[in-house]
Symmetry: C2
Subunit: 428 residues, 2 copies
């Protein structure tokens, strides 16, 4: 995509971004080497099994760390309505998890006491089989809401998965999928000043859960040794720059969950405020950003990913970016490959209601289309180039609003006929 | 729709709601009689002409009151980005308008000084031809944004319309349309204690403006005599209960405008805090609510109208109602005739983020489906009845959130394939 601006910290596009780190908006970590995607960091075992929750395919997964000093961190949805797995997992401390149990097909949301009992029972059974405490097992479910998650099948699936734990994460990464087009996973070898460690993650999301709302899940493992607070800090920062920055349809799930476990099995310790932490953090950041972008580009019916960058007053940048990213008019224009910047200005103006005069600068793929809210005069040639520039797989929008000091970005998918089909034509 | 709840103040459905007041959510005013839709109140003349702004059809309209003591009130979009017609019209006092000039096809938004000059010129020309002051002419344009509104054609159209002013509003109501399926208009005869008056309105909206964002316009005329502040008060209240309560896609236009003119030609004075004002207000309220519902049901590709009523703490009801009404998941479910209440709970939970526990009661078409956020057990028979109930042209959702004292409603359209087609497949 010629004429594209150089996004913050992004490398030039081209051959060097091949492999997992496909997006020009993700800086490929310099000290990382890609491993086979199923490769688990040392100390971890995993499995995915078919428990009959889905009509076919894997639907229950377990990841466990065999290291007793494993540390962990977690993030959960901020929706006031949370599923039973989130409610149960968030009850205890989440800094000493040893295992995660995940299932697809049923989200176990809004099923009352029955759902809570199923979550607690699955946690207890997994803990028992893995010889850890119940609160050391993190739960995650994704799929239909307000429908009973069949407890017996889930429990059998957990037992079966525990009996089949092995040293690759491929099955696990498939067991968490719902209507995702395919698994989202990567495994990296990192060369840190203090030694070599591995970092892996499996994610799912954005496919609709026939026909309920999307959930994003992400499971991170590393064999680096990190204090729980260091891991929590890194996960906090990286989630804010990845899964918190994406929108398929502006809808917040009841089940969004990120679990990160550090087994320490590499013997390499990552201390705070060291070059080790910096490089580890860069790799984690790139990994989660690319996974977040995979979720957006796998948005229901999505064919194109947009990135809106907003600069200006701190309190304005977030609402303006969200208004643009969530506008169905902007999203349909993105789908149509239409450089319809009037819709971007309108969405920004809506977020800035009551703050006239409207003085916004707008660039699309590095081309200035509006200055101070007014159309920038373009020659026919410039217009044709702009039209061409918005037909690629990634389209960048940059807005400057009044004020200074704030900058944010949101990645978003387009809105297509398929979105409507997935969400309207299927029945509950 | 059997089993439907009795909405606030709505009459039972059936034969008595035939005619213009089709929605069960609009109380048919008891003292009103429907006139032929083009009938103008006394003192007004109007015309709609084809000025070549559209490829075919009427596109420039003028309404004028011949009474020098005419009073008026206006409401404009709150979008920080406003079109030149709004900017120019809002500059002056809007309590003494004598005429409105409207055009379709071009919205005159984001066209810089050229657009402002065209708006001022059109206002000056109309004022001159009608022998009123420039600030007594209200402007409204709807159509493509960020494209030049051809000034010469507009001016010629205004001159032609003024030369053809007559005593019906049919042409005017057609000249303001863009991709509306048809005109939205009504004319009423009101029997007030102090005498008979007429009340008429013409509206447009929700059709997309190939391919730009929707605008709603509404023009109200009455031959009752009202002090400008009384008219302003009534318009304020009624707009809040009508055009402020609808959402096709959550997108706020840059050009939304309501103008109300009272000629006083009936000789009947409507004073504040009288039975006259009460009845006049009821009729105006019903008129604007029905027109607002016409806009929603004419939403791009819309086939069904939803009403979400939220009760609870004052600061919660509005964000929850907007979250439900604007959720593409709720809208696609409405389109599919799917009683997918998990999506409603999820949208409510998103608006209530950070306010757990989630204790929300939900009724759909008067049937309780969730209590305190948990699924209400339903028999197969009850479920089948619910599924049937959501296939009608109007579907009602009632949510009770924590707290008390607040109540609001939002009317919204469904989201269909046609919406995507209209907004993605057309090119700028």
């Amino acid at each position: 995509m010629s004429g594209a601006p150089a996004p913050l910290g992004a490398p030039a596009s081209g051959a060097e971004t091949a492999g997992f780190f496909r997006s020009r908006w993700v800086e490929r970590p310099t000290s990382a080497r890609e491993l086979e995607p199923g490769t688990l960091p040392r100390g971890f075992r995993a499995a995915g099994v078919a428990a009959g929750l889905k009509r076919r395919g894997l639907d229950v997964g377990v990841v466990v760390s065999d290291e007793p000093d494993t540390t962990s961190a977690a993030r959960f949805t901020t929706n006031a309505l949370v599923g039973a797995p989130v409610a149960v997992s968030a009850e205890g401390a989440v800094d000493g998890l040893r295992a995660v149990v995940a299932n697809s097909a049923y989200a176990n949301v809004s099923d009352g006491e029955r759902g809570m009992a199923t979550a607690r029972e699955s946690q207890a059974v997994a803990a028992d089989l893995l010889d850890v405490a119940a609160e050391q097992v993190g739960l995650a479910s994704t799929g239909k809401v307000a429908v009973e998650l069949p407890q017996e099948r889930l429990i059998e699936g957990i037992a079966n998965a525990v009996a089949n734990l092995g040293d690759d994460g491929l099955g696990f990464s498939e067991a968490i999928l719902t209507t995702d087009r395919g698994p989202k996973r990567a495994s990296l070898a990192l060369e840190l000043p203090s030694g070599s460690v591995r970092l892996a993650a499996q994610a799912k999301g954005a496919g609709m859960i026939s026909p309920n709302f999307a959930t994003m899940l992400c499971f991170v493992q590393t064999d680096a040794a990190l204090a729980a607070e260091t891991l929590d800090l890194l996960i906090g920062v990286c989630v804010k720059r990845s899964f918190d920055r994406i929108s398929v349809d502006g809808q917040l799930s009841t089940s969004d969950t990120v679990y990160a476990l550090a087994s320490g099995a590499s013997g390499v310790r990552v201390e705070q405020e060291t070059e080790d932490e910096l490089r580890f953090g860069q790799a984690l950041d790139a990994l989660l950003r690319q996974l977040a972008l995979e979720i957006v580009s796998d948005g229901e019916g999505a064919s194109r990913v947009g990135r809106v960058v907003v600069r200006g007053a701190d309190e304005l940048v977030e609402p303006v970016a969200r208004a643009v990213a969530d506008s169905p008019l902007v999203k349909t224009a993105l789908h149509g490959g239409d450089p319809n910047f009037g819709r971007i200005l309108q969405a920004a103006g809506q977020a800035l209601a009551g703050r006239a005069p409207f003085v916004v600068d707008l660039e699309i793929e590095g081309r200035r289309v509006a200055s101070a809210g007014q159309e920038h005069e373009m020659s026919a040639e410039e217009w044709a180039a702009l039209e061409q520039a918005v037909t690629g797989p990634e389209v960048e929008i940059e807005l400057t609003v009044p004020g200074s000091g704030g900058e944010t970005e949101v990645f978003f998918s387009d809105l297509s006929h398929e979105y409507v089909s997935i969400n309207a034509d299927y029945s509950t």
